[in-house]
Symmetry: C2
Subunit: 231 residues, 2 copies
DNA sequence: AAAATAGTGTCTATAAGACACTATCAT
DNA sequence: ATGATAGTGTCTTATAGACACTATTTT
């Protein structure tokens, strides 16, 4: 008697989000505390399963971004796929990870699903003592490394800033993500030399302390030329 | 009465392979002609569905590499995920694309599943007149762009070469993938200056025409420092 | 010898980092 | 005035490309 015809297996598809922002000049990531097994109580990336068979994957990522983090209109890009057969003890789950970058914002909105989410310095999140669910440590490492690399030759840094920003605020982004100190004077000329990276936003000014700085906004160019080289 | 509890949807997972090599100093890609609908008769990337629920995704890519292309032991790395809801008319299929780079090889082995596969210049594959299945044109573009970018700061170029190679062979890789002409003398010094990129393979020699060249093999370093900059 | 490719040396234009200096604010 | 940050100018050094030149082979 003939075998029943071979059918490809069906698997579960999840999205996970590495959401980065800057707080107090340090790189932070948004993590949620898991309320159910497995990894109950451990920290995890915001994310979840595809809602239905026809949902677009990036749309699912934006939905989770909104539901779990209360964020919209932030930079979002595919990061990688994580599909090890045993990465989820409940069964075969393939996850598409996204990298999101948000400007400086207040705490995750309490009273929403985002209430369980909190910003944590990336350094702490990756410290040996921090218990992270699934393979999320690896995903965070990959996401941070992606951000570091993209700062070099794309305008990603502006996604960490508000609509308008000063050059020294932009410098803080580079210093926090790369974890280095940069010379403000050379940084100033370098960032100005990358055509279309940033454009002046009127002769407006601002006053933290010291001479007021000119305000800029993200320019039309997303690929930096020349690139910002890491020391 | 209560709704039945929500269950996440299950989807089909495929792998697709962008397999690049060098033939006659031009960048080629391995394509198969589809023998079944949809896109019957169109060219497509080698690939297929996950075999069973427990198969590792990269293992599936290597399996297809062997079954459809007769290749083993070649460079293989994840490229991206393609999951548009309507990318496959048969239903929801999410594909994980891989980039493979093979050294110069004879034709795909006839008499195997690879018989239907053939090497084609990338330029021809991407020409407007070429009919490609699914979203494979986009995947090829992404794969080639990935190769171009990785040549700059990794040792990927050596994956296009045999075990040992001359510096001018390595230069041909860069010229074909980047589609530029490079000065052999500056290339020579530059490639030598990237520590650990290539190492001499004895004082051996070789004879195409002109002075014999020294032979090298891939060095231990995979991240180039300084990088090979594109003109 | 001529042609061809391998390999070395050197010059020049440019870019990157160090850092002195000026400008404009708060106190 | 002092301190702080913004912004400009300049010098030095490292690097990328142009290209002359030597070396070693085949025909």
């Amino acid at each position: 008697m003939p075998d029943s015809p071979w059918q490809p297996p069906r698997i579960l598809l999840a999205v996970d989000l590495v959401i980065l922002t800057l707080r107090e000049a340090r790189l932070h990531i948004l993590l949620v505390e898991r309320g159910i097994a497995p990894f109950l109580g451990a920290l995890a990336l915001p994310g979840g399963f595809l809602h239905d068979e026809h949902e677009d994957i990036e749309a699912a990522a934006r939905r989770e971004l909104s539901e779990e983090a209360g964020l919209s209109d932030v930079h979002l890009e595919p990061l990688a796929v994580y599909g090890e057969p045993d990465r989820d003890p409940r069964g075969r789950v393939v996850s598409v990870a996204y990298l999101a970058v948000a400007p400086r914002l207040p705490e995750p909105v309490a009273g929403t699903d985002a209430a369980g989410a909190s910003w944590m310095p990336v350094e702490d999140a990756l410290a040996p003592g921090t218990e992270l669910a699934f393979d999320h440590r690896r995903i965070i490492v990959d996401g941070v490394e992606r951000a570091r690399a993209k700062l070099e030759h794309t305008a990603l840094a502006t996604a960490f800033c508000a609509e308008t920003f000063t050059i020294s605020e932009l410098q803080q982004v580079y210093e926090a993500v790369w974890d280095v100190r940069l010379d403000p004077r050379n940084f100033y000329r370098k960032v100005q030399g990358a055509h279309g990276f940033i454009v002046a936003d009127g002769p407006m000014r601002k006053t933290p302390n010291g001479r007021p700085a000119r305000l800029f906004r993200a320019g039309p160019v997303h690929v930096l030329n020349p690139p910002m080289t890491r020391p």
